[in-house]
């Protein structure tokens, strides 16, 4: 098979976004625009305590003084922050004891997403906190978790039920003024998930949240906080989809992780927000701040992400390795197709002694997309014997897509060992022909080769998630081959 760029372009661009449908549930939506009144409205709707309103207002004031960052290798028209509605809650909201009580329309949405909660509940014991347009609708498995003292609930609920924990940890890893989008999120976040694992507890199931942007013209600003107390362990899964929309939707989330002494947090994301159409019209702007703090000695935080969606991705899940012997990991597969742009990577900040970090990044670019890895490895003076290994690979599917690597390394301690490897390769015509000769279709061939390429990262995902991620990779890279 001659694998000419244009042919491949055809073959990979004819895939329509599979999750492009909207759910017809009445929503309660704030007027467009952002000002103090809107923030007061959000806070009031959510029946928040005064301290949190003040916290939001301070973030808002900080945000007003900031400008949108422009250093990322992406091009787009900046969102009009006054044209967005900052709050949309599904109406007729009730408390549910079980998933069976949920609005059938919403259930269908979840099924279309392939979540099938019953299946997941039955097969994998995943507790799902489903966030649809900002308000958490259903939380399962809560009782079982409660027996172990594990708290897993929506952020709104946590503010009411566990104010001491929220007050203690919120914004401690990512200060409100950290960056433009984090400040915006701090001012207007509507919901998200909170998770607390008490001392010595190993969370017996994967905790999972599905995010979905549903209402047209709404931004989604969810806020996630995971705290693993001494000697505890938790694996957290986050999946995202957004229905098809012509206009760009803004998504600016903040995720904070805190691992105390001897604790471990595994955080996995599969992101397939609507990427826009072939010509780059529409799609989600995904401007996310994610950071984990290895607070205590011997703590560990791993980020694993499979990013296939969004028109623009701006995302750097990072680790601050403060505790001695703490470990940070970042495993990433980022796929861009058509006109998608991704600038993603990580920061590993070594502060404690004997800290180590691993970065494995696999970029896949198709169509005329642009895919950049941007990473910082910073070894501070105090970080004796710090270790880092980084490997950044890029796979090109066409001749007119872009792959870029921006590794930054700052070493202030001579005992540090930092290794960086990078490769760029084009998908092999010979590999594809070999597969065809064994009877595989071109689609299947590409899917196999790409999944093989990304295997090191996919292997880090929990089982069911890995299978879903493999399918997603195939979906986002293949089309009607003809």
């Amino acid at each position: 098979m001659a694998y000419e760029g244009d042919e491949l372009l055809e073959s990979v661009t004819n895939k329509e976004y599979e999750f492009g449908f909207t759910t017809n549930i009445e929503t309660d939506k704030a007027p467009n625009g952002l000002n103090e009144d809107i923030i007061r409205l959000i806070s009031a709707k959510k029946e928040e305590p005064e301290w949190l309103l003040q916290w939001r207002l301070e973030a808002f004031h900080a945000w007003q003084k900031m400008t949108e960052p422009e250093w990322a290798h992406v091009k787009y028209t900046k969102p009009d922050f006054q044209a967005i509605s900052y709050y949309a809650a599904p109406k007729n909201r009730q408390k549910y004891n079980s998933l069976d009580e949920i609005d059938p329309e919403l259930r269908r949405t979840m099924e279309k997403l392939g979540i099938s909660m019953e299946e997941q509940k039955r097969l994998s014991g995943v507790a799902v906190d489903f966030v649809m347009d900002s308000v958490s609708v259903a939380t399962s498995f809560k009782e079982k978790l409660a027996e172990l003292g594990i708290i897993f609930c929506s952020m709104s609920e946590a503010v009411k039920e566990h104010p001491e924990l929220i007050k203690k940890y919120l914004g401690t890893v990512i200060p409100r003024s950290d960056n433009f989008y984090a400040a915006l999120n701090s001012a207007v976040f509507t919901d998200g998930s909170f998770c607390y694992i008490p001392k010595g507890v190993r969370c017996p199931m994967e905790l999972s949240t599905y995010f979905r942007i549903n209402e047209s013209g709404t931004g989604q600003f969810e806020r996630t906080l995971v705290v693993a107390d001494e000697g505890s362990y938790v694996s957290y899964l986050e999946g995202c989809t957004a229905p098809q929309r012509d206009e760009n939707q803004l998504h600016a989330a903040v995720v904070e992780l805190i691992a105390h002494k001897d604790a471990e947090i595994k955080y996995s994301t599969v992101q397939n927000w609507y990427p826009g159409d072939k010509d780059g019209k529409g799609g989600v702007f995904n401007f996310v701040t994610k950071r984990g703090l290895c607070e205590g000695n011997n703590s560990k935080i791993s980020w694993t992400q499979v990013e296939t969606g969004s028109a623009i991705t701006w995302k750097y899940p990072s680790c601050v390795l403060k505790g001695d012997n703490s470990v940070g990991e970042f495993y990433s597969v980022a796929v861009t197709n058509n006109a998608q742009q991704a600038d993603t990577g990580t920061k590993m900040i070594h502060i404690g002694k004997n800290t180590s970090s691993t970065i494995i990044s696999k970029g896949i670019s198709a169509g005329s997309s642009n895919n950049s890895y941007r990473g910082l490895v910073q070894i501070n003076k105090s970080a004796d014997n710090a270790r880092n290994f980084s490997q950044c690979d890029s796979l090109l599917m066409t001749d007119h897509c872009g792959a870029h690597t921006f590794p930054y390394i700052e070493v202030k301690n001579k005992s540090a060992k930092v290794e960086h490897e990078a490769t760029t390769s084009k998908i092999g015509e010979d590999q594809i022909f070999y597969c065809l000769q064994r009877g595989l279709s071109e689609e299947k061939a590409i899917s196999l080769i790409v999944n093989g390429y990304a295997k090191e990262v996919l292997n880090k995902l929990p089982m069911e998630f890995a299978i879903e991620a493999q399918k997603l990779l195939a979906i986002s890279l293949e089309g009607s081959v003809g």
């Binding site: 070999y434 597969c435 000769q437 064994r438 009877g439 093989g452």
Partner: protein
């Protein structure tokens, strides 16, 4: 089974196959020999459907169908198998998953029921024994880090799994030690049947002691210039290709 008439093919303006005629009947084993660069691998690639090569003339029928009208994957599903001279590595894709996917496509095309996981593994067991392929290799990534000989054995293993009606072996003997050569030849011989045909491309008469061909052909400058029986291979071994080249030049003069 396979009928090639006056086949012309070129790549980048260079004509490589120049009026090639060749016929294989069911159950036959044909050996193709010929000097380096004469077009043997090109013939194999053209038959397998590699689009890099442009067909500028001629016809090929396979089991009565127009082979040149079929896509590469259709040809494979119809039962044409090529053991590559240089098998490709596919990192991160396990041999077993690769074969599972391939076999499932092939069986679907042939109207055969899909195998259960258990049946599939039993088949893998049986066929890997045929070429004494280390069980570990079936679990490793396709050809990645395989030795030259292991890659060749893996090709024959894949052939056995996919059960083709026409198998083209492109220098499957090169890079094999004496024992491996015997093992691979035994594997091929075990697969010989009145319905299955083989085209064996080789430089060495030695292989033909193990896989005894019905016919031997010499390919030179994109044409079959001499055909005979297994004795022809012995003669080539002794005399080299010069006398054949001279014959061809004399005929052209």
């Amino acid at each position: 089974m396979l009928e090639i008439k006056n086949l012309h093919a070129r790549v980048e303006e260079k004509e490589i196959l120049r009026g090639l005629n060749f016929e294989v009947k069911p159950g036959e084993v044909h050996a193709i020999m010929g000097p380096n660069g004469s077009g043997k691998s090109t013939l194999a690639s053209v038959l397998a459907g590699k689009e890099e090569y442009e067909i500028t003339g001629g016809e090929v029928s396979f089991k009565g169908k127009d082979l040149l009208a079929m896509s590469a994957e259709e040809r494979a599903r119809e039962g044409l198998f090529l053991a590559f001279q240089y098998p490709v590595e596919i990192p991160g894709v396990s041999n077993i998953n690769f074969l599972k996917a391939a076999l499932s496509e092939v069986r679907e095309h042939r109207g055969l029921p899909q195998l259960t996981a258990k049946e599939f593994l039993a088949l893998v067991n049986e066929k890997s024994k045929l070429v004494e392929l280390d069980g570990q290799l079936t679990n490793r990534s396709v050809n990645e880090g395989f030795s030259g000989g292991e890659k060749k054995r893996n090709e024959v293993f894949q052939m056995a799994m996919l059960d083709p009606t026409l198998a083209i072996l492109d220098e499957t003997d090169s890079g094999l030690d004496i024992d491996a050569l015997r093992i691979v030849a035994n594997g091929v011989n075990a697969m010989r049947s009145p319905e299955r045909s083989f085209v064996v491309i080789t430089h060495y008469q030695r292989l033909l002691d193990f896989i005894v061909p019905d016919y031997v052909h010499v390919l030179y400058k994109g044409r079959i210039v001499k055909s005979g029986t297994k004795e022809l291979a012995l003669e080539l071994e002794e005399r080299g290709y010069d006398w054949i080249k001279e014959e061809v030049e004399a005929a052209n003069a």
